[in-house]
Protein backbone atom coordinates (compact mmCIF):
# COMPACT_ATOMS: atom_id res chain seq x y z
CA UNK A 1 0.00 0.00 0.00
CA UNK A 2 1.20 3.50 -0.82
CA UNK A 3 1.06 5.53 2.36
CA UNK A 4 0.21 9.21 2.40
CA UNK A 5 3.43 11.24 2.33
CA UNK A 6 3.91 13.17 5.56
CA UNK A 7 4.03 16.46 3.72
CA UNK A 8 0.64 15.85 2.12
CA UNK A 9 -0.83 14.82 5.46
CA UNK A 10 0.49 18.01 7.07
CA UNK A 11 -0.81 20.06 4.18
CA UNK A 12 -4.31 18.62 4.45
CA UNK A 13 -4.46 19.14 8.22
CA UNK A 14 -3.48 22.79 7.74
CA UNK A 15 -5.94 23.31 4.87
CA UNK A 16 -8.80 21.83 6.90
CA UNK A 17 -8.23 24.44 9.61
CA UNK A 18 -7.60 27.29 7.18
CA UNK A 19 -10.92 26.68 5.48
CA UNK A 20 -12.68 26.89 8.83
CA UNK A 21 -13.99 23.33 8.59
CA UNK A 22 -13.01 22.10 12.06
CA UNK A 23 -15.05 22.06 15.25
CA UNK A 24 -11.84 21.55 17.22
CA UNK A 25 -8.19 21.59 16.12
CA UNK A 26 -5.83 20.00 18.63
CA UNK A 27 -2.18 19.17 19.14
CA UNK A 28 0.18 18.07 21.86
CA UNK A 29 2.27 20.83 23.41
CA UNK A 30 5.49 20.02 25.23
CA UNK A 31 5.90 21.56 28.66
CA UNK A 32 7.93 21.06 31.84
CA UNK A 33 4.78 19.42 33.26
CA UNK A 34 4.68 16.85 30.47
CA UNK A 35 2.85 16.88 27.18
CA UNK A 36 -0.32 18.93 27.23
CA UNK A 37 -3.26 18.06 25.00
CA UNK A 38 -4.45 21.45 23.73
CA UNK A 39 -7.61 22.06 21.69
CA UNK A 40 -8.92 25.19 20.01
CA UNK A 41 -12.41 25.83 18.63
CA UNK A 42 -13.59 28.75 16.51
CA UNK A 43 -14.32 30.59 19.77
CA UNK A 44 -10.97 29.99 21.42
CA UNK A 45 -9.06 27.62 23.63
CA UNK A 46 -11.43 24.84 24.74
CA UNK A 47 -9.20 22.25 26.38
CA UNK A 48 -5.85 21.82 28.08
CA UNK A 49 -5.36 18.42 29.54
CA UNK A 50 -2.56 16.66 31.44
CA UNK A 51 -1.58 13.09 30.61
CA UNK A 52 -4.46 12.80 28.19
CA UNK A 53 -5.29 9.63 26.34
CA UNK A 54 -5.61 11.37 22.95
CA UNK A 55 -8.23 8.94 21.59
CA UNK A 56 -10.48 9.36 24.60
CA UNK A 57 -9.97 13.12 24.52
CA UNK A 58 -10.86 13.27 20.82
CA UNK A 59 -14.04 11.26 21.48
CA UNK A 60 -15.03 13.58 24.29
CA UNK A 61 -14.42 16.69 22.17
CA UNK A 62 -16.46 15.20 19.30
CA UNK A 63 -19.38 14.64 21.67
CA UNK A 64 -19.23 18.12 23.14
CA UNK A 65 -18.16 20.34 20.26
CA UNK A 66 -19.00 18.44 17.05
CA UNK A 67 -17.54 15.52 15.12
CA UNK A 68 -15.00 17.48 13.09
CA UNK A 69 -12.10 17.13 15.48
CA UNK A 70 -8.69 16.91 13.81
CA UNK A 71 -5.08 17.12 14.91
CA UNK A 72 -3.91 20.32 13.26
CA UNK A 73 -0.97 22.16 14.82
CA UNK A 74 -1.30 25.62 13.32
CA UNK A 75 -4.44 26.83 15.14
CA UNK A 76 -2.79 25.70 18.38
CA UNK A 77 0.39 27.72 17.74
CA UNK A 78 -0.64 30.92 19.58
CA UNK A 79 -1.45 28.92 22.72
CA UNK A 80 1.77 26.92 22.31
CA UNK A 81 3.82 30.10 22.04
CA UNK A 82 2.23 31.71 25.10
CA UNK A 83 2.59 28.55 27.17
CA UNK A 84 6.28 28.38 26.19
CA UNK A 85 6.74 31.98 27.25
CA UNK A 86 4.91 31.37 30.51
CA UNK A 87 7.06 28.36 31.40
CA UNK A 88 10.14 30.29 30.29
CA UNK A 89 9.31 33.04 32.81
CA UNK A 90 8.60 35.56 30.07
CA UNK A 91 4.84 35.82 30.39
CA UNK A 92 2.60 36.59 33.34
CA UNK A 93 -0.74 36.96 31.56
CA UNK A 94 -2.29 34.89 28.81
CA UNK A 95 -3.86 36.74 25.94
CA UNK A 96 -6.03 33.99 24.51
CA UNK A 97 -9.76 33.68 23.91
CA UNK A 98 -11.25 30.88 25.95
CA UNK A 99 -14.27 28.86 24.85
CA UNK A 100 -16.36 28.31 27.99
CA UNK A 101 -19.52 27.15 26.21
CA UNK A 102 -19.71 23.99 28.32
CA UNK A 103 -19.70 25.92 31.60
CA UNK A 104 -23.05 27.25 32.80
CA UNK A 105 -24.39 29.71 35.33
CA UNK A 106 -22.38 29.67 38.54
CA UNK A 107 -19.64 27.51 37.00
CA UNK A 108 -19.09 30.02 34.29
CA UNK A 109 -19.10 33.00 36.66
CA UNK A 110 -16.52 31.26 38.84
CA UNK A 111 -14.24 30.48 35.89
CA UNK A 112 -14.49 34.08 34.72
CA UNK A 113 -13.54 35.29 38.19
CA UNK A 114 -10.71 32.78 38.28
CA UNK A 115 -9.27 34.40 35.14
CA UNK A 116 -8.79 37.59 37.17
CA UNK A 117 -6.56 36.08 39.85
CA UNK A 118 -3.15 37.56 39.06
CA UNK A 119 0.15 35.81 38.44
CA UNK A 120 2.11 35.05 41.59
CA UNK A 121 -0.85 35.46 43.95
CA UNK A 122 -3.15 32.94 45.54
CA UNK A 123 -6.75 33.10 46.64
CA UNK A 124 -8.98 30.66 48.52
CA UNK A 125 -11.96 28.58 47.44
CA UNK A 126 -14.17 30.63 49.78
CA UNK A 127 -12.90 33.97 48.52
CA UNK A 128 -13.47 32.95 44.92
CA UNK A 129 -16.98 31.75 45.81
CA UNK A 130 -17.68 35.12 47.40
CA UNK A 131 -16.42 36.99 44.35
CA UNK A 132 -18.74 34.90 42.19
CA UNK A 133 -21.65 35.90 44.46
CA UNK A 134 -22.07 32.80 46.65
CA UNK A 135 -19.83 33.13 49.72
CA UNK A 136 -20.93 29.75 51.09
CA UNK A 137 -20.17 27.78 47.95
CA UNK A 138 -16.49 27.00 48.60
CA UNK A 139 -17.06 23.30 48.10
CA UNK A 140 -18.83 23.83 44.77
CA UNK A 141 -15.91 26.02 43.70
CA UNK A 142 -13.60 23.10 44.47
CA UNK A 143 -15.57 20.92 42.08
CA UNK A 144 -15.51 23.62 39.41
CA UNK A 145 -11.73 23.96 39.78
CA UNK A 146 -11.39 20.21 39.44
CA UNK A 147 -13.23 20.36 36.10
CA UNK A 148 -11.54 23.50 34.81
CA UNK A 149 -11.36 22.89 31.04
CA UNK A 150 -8.23 25.00 30.56
CA UNK A 151 -5.87 24.74 33.56
CA UNK A 152 -2.75 26.96 33.59
CA UNK A 153 -4.47 29.54 31.36
CA UNK A 154 -7.37 29.78 33.81
CA UNK A 155 -5.17 29.53 36.90
CA UNK A 156 -6.93 27.10 39.23
CA UNK A 157 -3.48 26.34 40.68
CA UNK A 158 -3.71 29.74 42.38
CA UNK A 159 -6.66 28.63 44.50
CA UNK A 160 -5.73 27.11 47.89
CA UNK A 161 -7.38 26.19 51.18
CA UNK A 162 -8.23 28.79 53.84
CA UNK A 163 -5.33 27.48 55.97
CA UNK A 164 -2.91 27.79 53.07
CA UNK A 165 -2.76 24.10 52.18
CA UNK A 166 -2.74 23.26 48.49
CA UNK A 167 -5.81 20.97 48.86
CA UNK A 168 -6.00 19.42 45.39
CA UNK A 169 -5.33 19.72 41.69
CA UNK A 170 -6.74 17.80 38.73
CA UNK A 171 -3.22 17.44 37.36
CA UNK A 172 -1.83 16.27 40.70
CA UNK A 173 -0.53 18.31 43.64
CA UNK A 174 3.04 18.13 42.40
CA UNK A 175 2.12 20.10 39.31
CA UNK A 176 0.22 22.65 41.36
CA UNK A 177 3.29 23.19 43.51
CA UNK A 178 5.56 23.48 40.47
CA UNK A 179 3.33 26.14 38.96
CA UNK A 180 3.14 28.15 42.18
CA UNK A 181 6.90 27.93 42.60
CA UNK A 182 7.42 29.06 39.01
CA UNK A 183 5.29 32.09 39.77
CA UNK A 184 7.13 32.80 43.02
CA UNK A 185 3.97 32.27 45.07
CA UNK A 186 5.78 29.62 47.10
CA UNK A 187 9.17 30.79 48.25
CA UNK A 188 10.40 27.82 50.21
Amino acid sequence: MTNVPLELDTHFRAAAAEEGLLDVAYDLVESPLGDLFVGVSDRGLCVISYEADPDAEVERLARNFGSRVLRSPRPVDPARRQLDEYFGGERRRFELDVDLRLARDFGRTVLEELGRVPFGEVTTYGALAAKAGKPKAARAVGTIMNRNPVPIVLPCHRVVGANGSLVGYAGGLERKETLLRLEGAILA
Partner: protein, 153 residues
Protein backbone atom coordinates in the same frame (compact mmCIF):
# COMPACT_ATOMS: atom_id res chain seq x y z
CA UNK B 1 -31.05 -0.81 9.41
CA UNK B 2 -29.22 -0.14 12.61
CA UNK B 3 -27.38 3.13 12.74
CA UNK B 4 -23.65 3.14 13.25
CA UNK B 5 -22.20 6.04 15.19
CA UNK B 6 -20.18 8.60 13.21
CA UNK B 7 -16.60 8.56 14.56
CA UNK B 8 -14.64 11.77 15.19
CA UNK B 9 -13.15 12.99 11.91
CA UNK B 10 -9.63 12.30 13.19
CA UNK B 11 -10.28 8.55 13.43
CA UNK B 12 -12.20 8.48 10.15
CA UNK B 13 -9.27 10.23 8.45
CA UNK B 14 -6.62 8.02 10.07
CA UNK B 15 -8.52 4.88 9.06
CA UNK B 16 -8.96 5.87 5.42
CA UNK B 17 -6.13 8.18 4.38
CA UNK B 18 -3.70 5.46 3.22
CA UNK B 19 -6.16 3.33 1.23
CA UNK B 20 -7.70 6.44 -0.36
CA UNK B 21 -4.27 7.73 -1.33
CA UNK B 22 -3.32 4.34 -2.80
CA UNK B 23 -6.59 4.29 -4.74
CA UNK B 24 -5.97 7.77 -6.16
CA UNK B 25 -2.41 6.87 -7.07
CA UNK B 26 -3.74 3.92 -9.06
CA UNK B 27 -6.28 6.08 -10.84
CA UNK B 28 -4.21 9.19 -11.41
CA UNK B 29 -0.55 8.38 -10.88
CA UNK B 30 1.25 11.64 -10.20
CA UNK B 31 -1.22 14.34 -9.33
CA UNK B 32 -2.95 12.18 -6.78
CA UNK B 33 -1.88 14.72 -4.12
CA UNK B 34 -4.36 17.43 -5.11
CA UNK B 35 -7.15 14.89 -5.50
CA UNK B 36 -6.35 13.49 -2.05
CA UNK B 37 -6.65 16.87 -0.39
CA UNK B 38 -9.82 17.68 -2.31
CA UNK B 39 -11.34 14.32 -1.33
CA UNK B 40 -10.89 14.86 2.39
CA UNK B 41 -11.87 18.52 2.30
CA UNK B 42 -15.07 17.51 0.55
CA UNK B 43 -15.61 14.75 3.10
CA UNK B 44 -15.03 17.25 5.91
CA UNK B 45 -17.58 19.66 4.44
CA UNK B 46 -20.21 16.93 4.19
CA UNK B 47 -19.31 15.27 7.52
CA UNK B 48 -21.83 17.05 9.76
CA UNK B 49 -24.68 15.94 7.45
CA UNK B 50 -23.80 12.25 7.72
CA UNK B 51 -26.41 10.28 9.61
CA UNK B 52 -24.92 6.81 9.56
CA UNK B 53 -21.35 5.60 9.98
CA UNK B 54 -21.98 2.27 8.27
CA UNK B 55 -20.67 2.88 4.76
CA UNK B 56 -17.94 5.39 5.41
CA UNK B 57 -15.38 3.52 3.34
CA UNK B 58 -17.61 3.25 0.27
CA UNK B 59 -18.62 6.88 0.81
CA UNK B 60 -15.11 8.30 0.82
CA UNK B 61 -13.98 6.07 -2.06
CA UNK B 62 -16.93 7.31 -4.09
CA UNK B 63 -15.92 10.91 -3.43
CA UNK B 64 -12.32 10.11 -4.39
CA UNK B 65 -13.36 8.27 -7.55
CA UNK B 66 -15.61 11.11 -8.64
CA UNK B 67 -12.78 13.61 -8.15
CA UNK B 68 -10.42 11.36 -10.10
CA UNK B 69 -12.90 11.13 -12.97
CA UNK B 70 -13.22 14.91 -13.12
CA UNK B 71 -9.46 15.26 -12.99
CA UNK B 72 -8.99 12.73 -15.82
CA UNK B 73 -11.55 14.52 -17.93
CA UNK B 74 -9.87 17.83 -17.29
CA UNK B 75 -6.47 16.44 -18.27
CA UNK B 76 -7.59 14.83 -21.50
CA UNK B 77 -10.32 16.79 -23.25
CA UNK B 78 -12.57 14.61 -25.44
CA UNK B 79 -11.10 13.99 -28.86
CA UNK B 80 -7.67 13.30 -27.47
CA UNK B 81 -8.86 10.26 -25.62
CA UNK B 82 -6.70 7.22 -25.99
CA UNK B 83 -8.59 4.16 -27.09
CA UNK B 84 -9.38 2.03 -24.13
CA UNK B 85 -10.30 -1.57 -24.60
CA UNK B 86 -13.84 -1.98 -23.42
CA UNK B 87 -16.18 -4.87 -23.22
CA UNK B 88 -19.67 -4.72 -24.65
CA UNK B 89 -18.84 -1.66 -26.65
CA UNK B 90 -18.98 0.56 -23.62
CA UNK B 91 -17.41 3.97 -24.17
CA UNK B 92 -13.95 4.84 -22.82
CA UNK B 93 -13.59 6.13 -19.36
CA UNK B 94 -14.00 9.88 -19.65
CA UNK B 95 -17.48 9.35 -21.07
CA UNK B 96 -18.48 7.13 -18.20
CA UNK B 97 -18.52 9.95 -15.68
CA UNK B 98 -21.60 11.85 -16.86
CA UNK B 99 -23.28 8.74 -18.29
CA UNK B 100 -23.36 7.05 -14.94
CA UNK B 101 -24.52 10.09 -12.99
CA UNK B 102 -27.91 8.60 -12.28
CA UNK B 103 -26.78 5.20 -11.07
CA UNK B 104 -26.87 4.32 -7.37
CA UNK B 105 -23.46 5.35 -5.94
CA UNK B 106 -22.12 1.85 -5.42
CA UNK B 107 -23.04 0.68 -8.91
CA UNK B 108 -21.69 3.87 -10.38
CA UNK B 109 -18.36 3.47 -8.66
CA UNK B 110 -18.17 -0.19 -9.65
CA UNK B 111 -18.94 0.53 -13.32
CA UNK B 112 -16.50 3.41 -13.54
CA UNK B 113 -13.71 1.54 -11.77
CA UNK B 114 -14.21 -1.59 -13.86
CA UNK B 115 -14.80 -0.20 -17.33
CA UNK B 116 -13.34 3.26 -16.98
CA UNK B 117 -10.18 2.52 -15.05
CA UNK B 118 -9.93 -1.18 -15.81
CA UNK B 119 -9.43 -2.15 -12.17
CA UNK B 120 -9.70 -5.84 -11.26
CA UNK B 121 -12.63 -6.85 -9.07
CA UNK B 122 -10.55 -7.45 -5.95
CA UNK B 123 -9.40 -3.82 -6.02
CA UNK B 124 -12.90 -2.57 -6.70
CA UNK B 125 -14.09 -4.63 -3.77
CA UNK B 126 -11.40 -3.05 -1.61
CA UNK B 127 -12.44 0.41 -2.80
CA UNK B 128 -16.09 -0.21 -2.05
CA UNK B 129 -15.49 -2.02 1.19
CA UNK B 130 -17.47 -5.02 -0.06
CA UNK B 131 -16.78 -8.57 -1.19
CA UNK B 132 -15.50 -9.36 -4.66
CA UNK B 133 -18.83 -10.96 -5.51
CA UNK B 134 -20.70 -7.88 -4.41
CA UNK B 135 -18.39 -5.68 -6.53
CA UNK B 136 -18.97 -7.91 -9.56
CA UNK B 137 -22.70 -7.78 -8.95
CA UNK B 138 -22.73 -3.99 -8.55
CA UNK B 139 -20.86 -3.55 -11.84
CA UNK B 140 -23.10 -5.92 -13.75
CA UNK B 141 -26.35 -4.52 -12.43
CA UNK B 142 -25.01 -1.02 -13.18
CA UNK B 143 -24.32 -2.05 -16.76
CA UNK B 144 -27.77 -3.63 -17.03
CA UNK B 145 -29.37 -0.43 -15.79
CA UNK B 146 -27.40 1.63 -18.32
CA UNK B 147 -28.49 -0.68 -21.15
CA UNK B 148 -32.14 -0.45 -20.14
CA UNK B 149 -31.85 3.29 -19.96
CA UNK B 150 -30.25 3.57 -23.39
CA UNK B 151 -33.06 1.42 -24.87
CA UNK B 152 -35.63 3.76 -23.42
CA UNK B 153 -34.08 6.92 -24.79
Amino acid sequence: MERVRIPPFESFYEDHKDPVFAHLRRLLGQGAEDAFQETFLRALRAYPELRNGRHLRAWVFTIATRIAIDETRRRRPTGELPEVAVEDGLPPHAELGPMTDELPPKERAAVVLRYGFDLPYDEIAAALGSSEDAARQAASSGVRRLRERSKQS
